[in-house]
């Protein structure tokens, strides 16, 4: 990866026209940027993932409200869990589309034979999913405020930090397992079956940390550290093993 990064810029700068006539592989940053831009543009025009995710999480929120009939005090206690359950289930919707989109017209095979590094493809996909899920979360907050009379007693910046780390935790493994589950029979159901068990520690931590902030009980320092460790460990393994999965035959 670093070898590619070191090699490419001088070749392009010397030639003046980037990419034309040069035999070197495209840089990681450029492949990442163009793949990400393509995915975001596709989603912006079709709004396939975000629409279905949003409606799905709306349904989860409404149906859970029937199940619990919460007061404002109670809702602070259960909202953390509810919010992340809704996000988790709707994330699967987005994740299932990420790679299925690339199966049409053998785009994934084209990636495989191209000199672009698999890591850049993975980062682009994971960041793209992060953007979609983060957008969903932003749109879901008003729902919770309205339906559950929710108001955080703890500082909001902590909520943002926990949300960012948690979203990455779900999305990084989800993107990776998505690439695995497209090669299985009944792939749509396969993804949650392998993603959820692995995500349990992250899920437990994000729910508990969010609840602590919402109720204003304490600062979830250890929770944030744990999410950070989870993110670092799994981002590293995903980047290390992604080319193995992409090229599995």
């Amino acid at each position: 990866m670093s070898a590619v990064l070191d090699k490419t810029p001088p070749a392009h700068n010397a030639g003046g026209k980037p990419g034309v006539g040069s035999m070197s592989a495209p840089s990681v940053a450029r492949v990442t940027r163009s793949t990400l831009a393509k995915d975001v543009r596709l989603e912006w025009r079709s709004k396939d993932a975000i629409n279905s995710m949003l409606f799905f999480s709306l349904l989860v929120v409404v149906i859970f409200a029937f199940g619990f009939d919460p007061t404002a005090e109670e809702s602070r206690r259960i909202a953390g869990g509810l919010f992340w359950m809704a996000v988790l289930f709707s994330t699967v919707v987005a994740l299932n589309q990420t790679w299925a989109r690339e199966l049409r017209n053998q785009v994934l095979d084209a990636y495989r034979v191209s000199p672009a590094s698999p890591a850049s493809l993975f980062i682009a996909k994971a960041v793209g999913n992060f953007i979609f899920v983060a957008t969903l979360e932003v749109l879901m907050v008003p729902l919770f405020v309205v339906f559950y009379n929710l108001r955080s007693l703890g500082p909001v910046w902590q909520l943002l930090l926990v949300a960012a780390l948690s979203t990455w935790a779900l999305v990084v493994n989800g993107t990776f397992f998505g690439a695995m589950s497209i090669r299985t029979r009944s792939r749509e159901i396969m993804l949650p079956l392998i993603l959820f068990p692995i995500s349990i520690p992250a899920l437990l931590t994000m729910v508990e940390a969010t609840t602590q902030i919402l109720t204003g009980e304490s600062t979830p320092t250890f929770g944030i550290q744990l999410l950070l460790i989870y993110d670092i460990v799994f981002t590293t393994i995903c980047l290390t093993l992604f080319s193995t999965i992409l090229n599995a035959e």
């Binding site: 695995m180 396969m190 460990v233």
Partner: protein, 238 residues
């Protein structure tokens, strides 16, 4: 090979019988819990054996990814399957022991929850193996095994943090601060017996895996041969 398995089986049966005797007759009755506590001699060795088998699965998976050796994959799948069986024994004997002692079948305490999550992870590994298609199965399974194993310490940390936030359930007895020497004797003999027994089952499972692969490739070979003799235009290999 055959006599080896017979000897292995006899040794395992002898050890299990001695373990049973040591657990039911040799070990003294526990003061507060009574005879129920004797399930301990099966519960704990099963747990240790399961964890050991999951570790074998992890090592074999790395070995497979590095060398692409089909033997490593066969070891990985046998270890995971037998490990899940022993982990199930732990999860079943646990509540049987807990009900008379704690008064409840289950509590979401750190150790119980971690074991349950571990079981879930390895069941998902076996499901992936079942649903994956073609030659990618081994690679994907090996990758998931690495994810699963690295997840275990995180599971334990998360659950311990989560649980210390809440009042602990009343846990009576258990193997807290050292046990009677004769109890230790029964425990260790049962551990050895369970290890040998697990080794035997895993060996048999491993041989079945190899045999089924041999049969599969034989069928594939025959299909290719029939194709060659039956029709002139042979489908090109991908």
């Amino acid at each position: 090979m055959k006599p080896g398995i017979v000897i292995f089986g006899i040794v395992a049966a002898a050890l299990l019988s001695y373990g049973l005797h040591a657990a039911l007759v040799g070990a003294p009755t526990e003061q507060t819990m009574g005879d129920v506590q004797r399930i301990f001699y099966y519960h704990v060795p099963s747990a240790w054996t399961a964890f050991l088998l999951f570790f074998v699965n992890f090592v074999a998976s790395i070995w497979y990814l590095v060398r692409r050796n089909p033997i490593a994959d066969a070891i990985a799948v046998s270890a995971a399957e037998v490990g899940v069986v022993f982990c199930t024994v732990v999860l079943v004997t646990g509540p049987i022991w807990a009900k008379p002692v704690w008064g409840i079948w289950w509590t979401w305490d750190a150790r119980l929850t971690s074991t349950l999550v571990l079981w879930l992870i390895y069941v998902s590994y076996l499901i992936l193996r079942r649903y994956a298609t073609g030659g990618q199965t081994q690679v994907m399974a090996a990758v998931l095994a690495i994810f699963g194993f690295l997840d275990v310490p995180l599971v334990y940390m998360a659950i311990r943090w989560f649980r210390t936030q809440h009042p602990q359930p009343v846990i009576g007895g258990g193997e807290g601060s050292g046990i009677h020497p004769s109890m230790m004797h029964a425990l260790m003999w049962n551990f050895v017996a369970f290890l040998v027994f697990a080794g035997l089952v895993m060996w048999l499972r491993y041989r079945i895996e190899l045999a089924s692969r041999a049969i599969e490739s034989e069928f594939a070979q025959r299909a290719v041969d029939d194709d060659l003799h039956g029709h002139m235009p042979v489908r090109s290999t991908r």
